[in-house]
Amino acid sequence: MKKSQLFFLLILASILVFLPQISSEYVTDWLTKTMIFAIFALSLELLVGQTGLVCFGQSAFFGIGAYTAVLFSAKVDHTYLGYLLPLAIFAAALYALIVGALSLRTKGVYFIMVTLAFAQMAYYVIHDTPLGGGTDGIYLYSKPIIFGDLVLEGSICIYFFTAISLFLVLGFLGLLSSSRFGRALIGIKINELRMRAMGFETYWYKLAAFVISGAIAGIAGFLFAMKDGFVNPEILSWHVSGTVLMMIILGGLGHLRGAVIGAFTYALLEEIFRSEIIFGSFSKNWHLGLGLTLILSVALLPKGLFGMRDQLLRGLSLDLGNFKKPPKTKL
């Protein structure tokens, strides 16, 4: 790992360990929510940033992970984490397998639309049929047992569980991207035809990326269900898919760190725009600020916040060796 990556991880770890000690429960919950979104963003980063597959239906895997967790949690007794979490991941990954297998036959904007369609399908199944409990959502009546007497409930417990999950996912994706598989994905993003010419069966690589991405989104969904104790069909809506896409663009495509930064940035922006202290009565129109930020950031910062440093330096005409190297996925 490069020094900057290690540095990033250490800073992140220290913030995350330090903050709950000094802040209110509200802030702790907010951090938990943001970390869940960071995991969600990382899952999409694998698809969009590394493999070049613009998926507009990521909310489906997130939602399926969350709903599986709720539906399979016992009403009165406690369920075991070791059973519930893998189940949620499996459900999300299974749907990703189906969606991927079918969508990867299309290209370009059709691919974007088909992934959207599959997410909408999942949304309507949950929204309209008795399977998902209907439009009002369903309660999580019991929290899972981690082992022995330790139950996954309470702000702090869920917070640290989420933080650990975030680091595990980061570690996993980091290893993945420096592996042969990860390099192949980047190659597919840059020029698929060339990869095929070199003998890579790109379809299977893309499908594998899809399934892994779906599984990670499922983890995020599981954590979300645990945190709120309540899920409803809106978590599968295409707005959620749009939001997570926004996060990885804000942070910077092609970097795993970018996804995390993007998630935190989005969450901070949301809090700022919704804050009545700054915006007074306009705080209820916070989407306006968000929309403008998105437009400006895509227009002016196409490489996201992560690329801001490079862009600034380029703007100031300070040439650094980094620029000449070809794009690599960094942590």
Binding site: E25, V27, K33, T135, Y139, G229, N232, I277
Partner: protein, 387 residues
């Protein structure tokens, strides 16, 4: 590094917000989580009006504590509900939460209230689960359970010897529970529901379903929709000419507060509700006069529910001497009280839901006039509540 600094700066905004809302002990913070936009906006406003009216009548104080309000627009969106109510409880540190209209949103609120122990008084949402498996010592309802008005209407329909009915509602908890209430009493009385038609919330394209109703030719139609959706339904129903041959029955939400917008299309409609116009009791007349003077509007059932939520809060606070943390005293006082409501006196059940009379109302002119009692002292089933 820059990012880190910026991040810390921004995070400190949270802390500031938490500090700014640091409470002074003599103030009682009430958090309104109501729909201030969308299809239920008028209902949210009416509830707030009713509630603040009672507080105003008591000099702006309850149990000696000055009342301060914090408002959040829940947009009738269950997906934002948990975040919104968490903000009220954990960031703004409210003492009591009043809300809401939409059952799905209320369900999310009830979960958080149950987990955190914050006092919650629901001035409308009738989801069965809230006084069912989600019931709690600190959760109260000043309105109704979704099945109640439907049950009352079913009894009326059966007594009038109608044999077949089609139900029409939005596909969400409130709609399903209302229809179930109707079905229970209608079928017990010898009728049969031949079809259940639904529309996703808050869609108002009733046309295709009205066509189906016309084709199936039932004796009556029972429908539950509310707010702007109710206006559309009743108007479309009349425009399709169906009101001449197949009477439209429903809970009072179809017409309450909406007669101005409905005009002639609602003429003669029969509905059941725990409130009506022209009740002619002293309490109701006082309330209506006071409301009309303060807000220059006629009150409706939503205003009454808001008003009674304030009454319940007052009773509880009096017993616990203004201290919301004394939950047992608070709950005991409300449970044993008879609330002197403009709708008529009512008590609450063990599951904290009103046990009340349901009036049969007919739309005469610009009023939902009470033409008798449809169901006396109707309680809710409260299935699954272990309190």
């Amino acid at each position: 590094m820059k990012l880190l600094k910026i991040g810390m700066c921004l995070l400190s905004i949270f802390f500031t917000e938490t500090l700014v809302f640091a409470q002074s002990n003599t103030q009682l913070k009430i958090g309104f989580m109501l729909p201030y936009s969308g299809t239920f906006a008028a209902l949210g406003n009416a509830i707030e009006n009713g509630f603040t009216l009672y507080i105003k009548e008591n000099g702006g104080k309850l149990a000696g504590r000055e009342i301060v309000y914090i408002k959040v627009d829940d947009e009738s969106d269950p997906s934002k509900a948990t975040d919104n109510v968490n903000k009220l409880i954990k960031r703004d540190n409210v003492d009591v939460i009043i809300g809401t209209v939409h059952s799905g949103v209320a369900m999310a609120m009830a979960k958080v209230a149950k987990d955190t122990g914050t006092t919650l008084i629901i001035p409308n949402a009738g989801a069965d689960a809230i006084t069912g498996p989600m019931c709690a010592k600190n959760i109260f309802r000043s309105s109704f359970t979704n099945g109640q008005p439907g049950y009352a209407m079913g009894e009326v329909a059966a007594k009038k010897n109608h044999k077949t009915a089609i139900t029409l509602t939005w596909k969400y908890a409130a709609g399903e529970e209302s229809v179930k209430g109707f079905k229970d009493s209608f079928e017990k009385g010898g009728g049969k529901v031949i079809k259940d038609l639904t529309l996703p919330f808050p869609n108002v394209e009733f046309q295709a379903l009205l066509t189906e109703i016309a084709a199936a030719k039932p004796d009556i139609v029972y429908s539950f929709v509310a707010g702007a959706g109710a206006v559309k339904l009743v108007k479309d129903y009349a425009a399709a000419g169906l009101n001449k041959t197949i009477p439209l029955y429903g809970p009072g939400f179809l017409t309450d507060g909406l007669l101005e917008a409905l005009g002639d299309s609602a003429k003669g409609m029969l509905t059941t509700l725990h409130y009506a116009d022209g009740l002619n009791t002293k309490r109701d007349k006082e309330f209506r006069l006071s409301y009309a003077k303060t807000f220059r509007l006629q009150p409706d059932v939503y205003a009454v529910q808001g008003y009674d939520a304030a009454q319940m809060l007052a009773i509880g606070l009096k017993a616990s001497q203004g201290d919301v943390s004394r939950k047992d005293d608070f709950a005991k006082a409300i449970r044993s009280a008879t609330i002197d409501s403009p709708r008529g006196p009512f008590t609450i059940s063990k599951a904290h839901n009103p046990i009340q009379d349901f009036y049969l109302r007919e739309v005469i002119g610009k009023e939902n006039k009470s033409v008798g009692i449809a169901s006396k002292s109707l309680a809710d089933a409260a299935r699954g509540c272990n309190m």
